[in-house]
Point group: C2
Chain length 812, copies 2
């Protein structure tokens, strides 16, 4: 149905006498039905009472009948071939708007198709409309709750102009318009208050107002409270012909353990672009895990005067996507263990009788079972016709307990679940095994949510997920478990991005938040795609990659852009004087400990050394992909002007298109205007995007390419386990997947304490794993923790809620 514009006009006609109450009832229903864009009251004049006319909503009234006095209505006959005034008026409108509708299907829904058939007649006779404009007219019949076509067409010929006007308005509404964004004013205070105080001091616009400002239709929005809404994917169809905006990636230099503020730069940049330069722009952010919010990290909604608001809604639950992922992930886990138990305790026959039960005496395979039969090469539809061998291979997934790769998840920092033994109750009959929980955002389902580009694509990816291996070495999928349809059902709302706003009232999509080591660490393809349509040709979508550019940006290009087909225009590389001094040879920086004085006092030589090592290398990495780089120096209050100037000068010397200091944290968008101008300038230049490696290269060569070109390694060293896995993946046909390196983010190398731009090392690949549904191979460089812990005094000690005012304290 791609390309359909769905001009949905419903006609109410009568086959027999209905009471006024019944007609009013029907009109009221259609008034509120968001799928119906217009109503055409095709009724005998006696039925067109004042009450009926007054019931019809003016905005749905496509021929202006509700404005008119009954006395002025005239009656006419509709015989075959007669072109109704409605039909010709609709055509007239479509004709006037032919350019943006080219190649589109126009869907007309009628009581019993008189509108449609009249239209069809017109087209058949004239030929020109359908042929000239290449329209695919799809005439659907819809029975409207017992009402059907009348013998008489009642129509007011005087109202033709209204048809034209209504339709024009509607069609214009379908198209992109420059935003009329009302930004929220900021009056930054000094010193900068706490994040939650700043967030609470700003009243967000109602989300439906924001949605309207950025060109969303009411039926494309599903509000979740007053300040969040999910946006329907149908928008992609509606704005199909709309050119994409400019696509900007925010990445960072190798960070200190304190983080260098990529999120605040992202938010400050869109605040500057939208609220200060009046350029349409959207930020696309990852949804943070709730675990660290209560652990050590706090929130992730930006900070200072560059935040997403309300920050507590951003950080807690949001619209339930991570909860949906948790539910889906754990349903798979429960299905795995229950299936192993049932296989261990039942005969083939008993399993078959239960899996394909006799319902009213008939046994039938379910659709999901046909998929498994197909994979097994069994081309039969009658369950009774399976041979005993076929029954065995159908009913026994025969999972090898030691080769199950699927873990359970919770969105809580629960370190005691890292390694556990399950199945110890008597009811599980001794089927114990060791396994573990990851934090929810480490689930492969999160990576899928981030990479899927449609509901169908998500469904297919969810079905392809491999949960383990059978004793005979065959991969076992969620579809084999019969659970993949249910997973799609659990994830049906999660696939819609969530609309929120910045402190300055500019739009933000929050969607997906996969890990940046075992997954690709980028927000969703769909949010970016929706945003690129909404901002339009001259607008900007600013999206953020996790960790440093060597990891997040490399995966953004090689994995996310490969999946989406999108091509970025600019990379914003975030740096801080603090991190540059560290790379230049400054002492260790660690969370909780006071900063050494090198980081507080001016030190130009450390800054210069850091710029010439890590910053330079990260700029070069972006250039490998052919994309211009703007360096954004996130200014702290201890930075001196000489330090700031030095960074900007060296960065430009290293090939950055521009390098500018940003003060968004203290000043909001106003503090990022220079960055916004630099990005706008860089985006106007041509870029020559290219992938780093050809997807058809052998797995080991792809890993080596990343290690050498991006990390600066001399070579890679594969462990025997890694070699075996690569052979196995090749044999299973997974060799064509891109690579998702699981490496520390604290160094360009695999050694967290090697700062700057290390060289002369060999990258050790300890193991190689695969996320088949998400669609990548992930080599493990060192050990990755997929479950954070709680410290002695977690953040939750300070988090509280005043039950009288409802205000939350202690979130930051």
């Amino acid at each position: 149905m791609a390309g359909k514009i769905g001009l949905n006009i419903t006609q109410i006609c009568l086959a027999k006498q209905f009471s006024e109450d019944e007609i009013v009832e029907e009109v009221l229903k259609l008034n509120e039905d968001p799928r119906v864009h217009g109503i055409y009251l095709h009724l005998p004049s006696a039925a067109l009472t004042t009450r009926v006319l007054e019931t019809l909503k003016p905005e749905k009234d496509i021929d202006g009948i509700s404005d008119l006095n009954i006395g002025r209505l005239v009656r006419g006959d509709l015989s075959k071939g007669f072109v109704s005034p409605l039909a010709s008026a609709v055509l007239d409108v479509l004709e006037k708007h032919d350019a943006p509708l080219e190649g589109k299907t126009v869907l007309l829904v009628g009581g019993e198709g008189r509108v449609g058939s009249a239209l069809q007649c017109l087209i058949e006779r004239s030929g020109m409309v359908a042929l000239k404009n290449n329209w695919n007219l799809e005439i659907l019949q819809r029975q409207v709750c017992g009402f059907s076509v009348s013998d008489h067409l009642v129509h007011n010929f005087l109202s033709l102009n209204n048809v034209v006007r209504s339709c024009s308005r509607w069609i214009q509404g379908q198209q992109y318009r420059p935003w009329r964004l009302r930004s929220l004013k900021l009056q930054p205070l000094t010193p900068v208050p706490s994040d939650i105080e700043i967030s609470r001091a700003q009243i967000p616009k109602p989300v439906n107002q924001l949605a309207e400002e950025v060109g969303l239709l009411p039926e494309e929005l599903e509000a979740y409270g007053r300040s969040k809404a999910k946006v329907c994917l149908s928008l992609l169809d509606r704005l199909h012909t709309q050119p994409d905006g400019k696509y900007v990636l925010v990445a960072g230099i190798t960070p200190t353990p304190l983080g260098e503020g990529k999120s605040t730069v992202t938010i400050g940049l869109v605040q500057a672009l939208s609220a200060h330069l009046s350029l349409n722009s959207f930020a696309c952010l990852r949804q943070p895990s709730q675990g660290p919010t209560f652990g050590v990290k706090g929130g992730a909604a930006g900070g200072g005067y560059a935040q997403v608001i309300p920050m507590e809604e951003f950080n807690l639950h949001l619209t339930g996507d991570i909860h949906a992922i948790t539910a889906a992930n754990n349903l798979v886990a429960a299905a795995i263990d229950a299936r192993m138990l049932h296989e261990a305790t039942q005969s083939d026959k008993a399993l078959f009788n239960r899996l394909v039960p006799s319902v009213n005496g008939v046994r039938k395979f379910s659709p999901i079972q046909f998929s498994r039969l197909q994979r097994l090469g069994i081309d039969k539809t009658n369950p009774a016709s399976l041979t005993p061998e076929e029954v065995t291979s159908f009913v026994r997934l025969d999972l090898d307990p030691s080769k199950i790769t699927w873990q359970r998840v919770v969105d809580t920092n629960d370190r005691f679940l890292r390694k556990i033994t399950v199945g110890q109750a008597n009811t599980e009959k001794g089927q114990i095994r060791e396994t573990g929980f990851d934090i929810a955002v480490a689930s492969e389902i999160m990576a899928i949510l981030a990479l899927a580009d449609s509901l169908e694509d998500m469904k297919n990816r969810l079905a392809r997920m491999v949960v383990g291996t059978s004793r005979s070495g065959q991969p076992v999928t969620t579809e084999d478990l019969g659970v993949s349809g249910a997973l799609t059902v659990l994830m049906k709302d999660a696939i819609k991005p969530t609309l929120m706003q910045t402190l300055e009232g500019t739009p933000v999509f929050v969607h997906a938040g996969p890990f940046a080591n075992i997954a690709h660490g980028n927000s969703s393809v769909l949010a970016d795609k929706l945003a690129l349509k909404l901002v339009g040709r001259d607008g900007f979508v600013v999206t953020e990659a996790g960790f440093g550019a060597d990891i997040g940006m490399e995966k953004f290009f090689n994995i996310k852009c490969r999946a989406s087909g999108l091509r970025p225009n600019v990379v914003v590389l975030v740096a801080t004087i603090r991190a540059l001094k560290m790379h230049g040879g400054g002492p260790n920086v660690s969370a909780g400990a006071p900063l050494p004085k090198e980081y507080i006092d001016e030190n130009l030589s450390l800054v210069a050394a850091g710029c010439h090592s890590n910053l330079k290398k990260q700029i070069q990495i972006a250039h490998l992909f052919g994309i211009p780089v703007v360096v954004a120096l996130n200014v702290f209050k201890t930075d001196t002007q000489a330090e700031i100037d030095l960074v900007c000068e060296i960065a430009k010397g290293c090939g950055a298109s521009d390098a500018v200091p940003c003060n968004h944290w203290a000043q909001g968008g106003r503090g990022s205007i220079k960055l916004a101008q630099a990005v706008n300038e860089a985006a106007s230049r041509p870029s020559n995007f290219q992938f780093l490696y050809n997807i058809e290269m052998p797995i080991a060569d792809k890993i080596r390419t990343i290690a050498q070109k991006v990390y600066g390694a001399d070579d890679i060293e594969l462990s025997p386990a890694a070699k075996d896995k690569i052979d196995y993946y090749n044999q299973q046909g997974y060799g064509l997947l891109p690579i998702c390196m699981a490496k520390t983010h604290l160094s360009l190398s695999h050694m967290p304490d090697k700062k700057g731009a290390p060289t002369g090392f060999v990258l050790p690949i300890r193991d190689v794993r695969a996320s088949i549904g998400a669609g990548f191979i992930y080599p493990l460089v060192g050990t990755m923790s997929t479950m954070p812990g709680l410290p002695t005094r977690p953040c939750f000690y300070d988090i509280d809620l005043d039950p009288v005012t409802g205000e939350i304290t202690g979130l930051f």
Copy 2:
């Protein structure tokens, strides 16, 4: 602030010249601010430009200024003691509505209080208003973003009538009105289609329309998509003086393992009351666990033509309340294990330094730590002044690993998590222990959600939850862990009930769903309270209790009504011919197996025997509490007229006020009209509600009272463990809590196969546990499973989603 009606009128005044842009900006903000009900443009006439006037939303314009031409405005002075026309008009309105406002605070918010001070003068002078009506006038000052009072009052005297009209309209809007409910028409098909087909064939009303119909204000609603919304608890304040409606409990006789349809009876009854008898009515239902939806049970949204729609939204995620409970429950679990690890590996001093860290050289206790200090009897505020012994008792919860009662939860049927060992990773340093997961709805937090009657009450209950015992035998609470504030934050939205609708467009609250064995099995106190206000004096709230009347109803009366203070008017007791035949001596009924022929063919003697045993006993149980009973016979297509007549006759003979057959499953509300009439009739009779036991009785006596009077036992037998626990609870001061029996629902006794009304048995109490936050003691009669499993072929095999249409299949 209870009792405040919050007439929130904002005045915009000017202290200095502001630009037109700035004034428009301010008006736009107030236009959209849901907390502001009216705006009074208190500006010099020069500032009242056409643009400013056009900006003001007519519905917020309290003196009609936006309708008027600037030229017609007159200018006047406001000197002390002068009664402004606005003030007198407001008073005039309040005066006219004095009855419902009696005892209320009227909140007037003004730029710098001129409206307020004028009003105050009037009251001081006349005396009569404040004294006569007992108003508590609360005059608040509000500085509106830099705007403050002007020297001149600009007001159009002609617009006084508008003030009166606006205020009248607003105040009327605050009060209860009979509903103007537009019901959705049903056209039931034969044979009855699947639940999801029926659900999908009906287009629900937009939830904001439904909300408006039942008297909710837009600002009391938080939409979650188009067909669900959370309702704010502020409604209870607004309708404080509104009398409650009639309160109806739906309970059942002892069921077969197939269930006897209490939910469908509940929904059919409100469909009949609202849509057919035009009596305001609300159903209050439990939110089902998602686990069984994918396991064996399917959905819980009713069935046939008595359903909550959209049924897939009811059954999946809903508005995320269970997910919030899961997150809160598991944060407690993570906090317990992490704390034990940190205590095991750190000295007192290290623990103290981390728990009370030095921030910028200052150590301070957080508020939650003061609560712990208080419980420990340490009355100090300076951390440095604690003695070493006090430090030890403060930092060491000293949890006994073998006495931790807190379990983790998931909302998935994951049997392998029933008993597990956690902490097996090296990072946990050997601190392994055995524990388990329950299904999420078994969490004590769910029971708290169901029993809390305000945000503050929930917060206090969450803080009181006992998670285990210290080695010295002291209970350890979530507040001791420092986590209770965070729990409240996680649960802040879950406390608001979710509004949905039945197939006939009548309102439903879905809220909370605690287990009916280890908890009390009833939906939330808050949903019932909100609904009782919304339906008004002559309306009905129909709520459902889990399991049979011996369990769900007993707990409804003794636990839920005790917590809420609400008094029920009628019990509807649901019976089926199938269950009655079973109690009359029919063969076993079990899920999955075909029904024996006794249940398909007419068998009057089995029916009669079932009525005289179980049905009679359950009626008597309701009468113990002084409440009239209407028996609702849920008719199946195999039931004969003679069987139906027999049940109704015997039921009335056993003391039921009435007994009627119901056909809601096949016919919707129309099939339950007789039941609705019988309930309406029974509710008009006086009831003499009384609790079964005095809360001050000893724990064992309370248990014995339930066992003897409700179950028909001769006595109880306490195990030694149970006796010890009772002693311990008495010693801890928990003796005054009500009792929540954890007993099988398949028999009145503890033996599931004893049908009818068993006598001559002694009820064995294996153990006694306590949910201190929820506020009850729960004796265990037998073993309760708190984690369901998945069968060989779970429901999920048939659940799927069409990615093109978005339609879900296979839910039932």
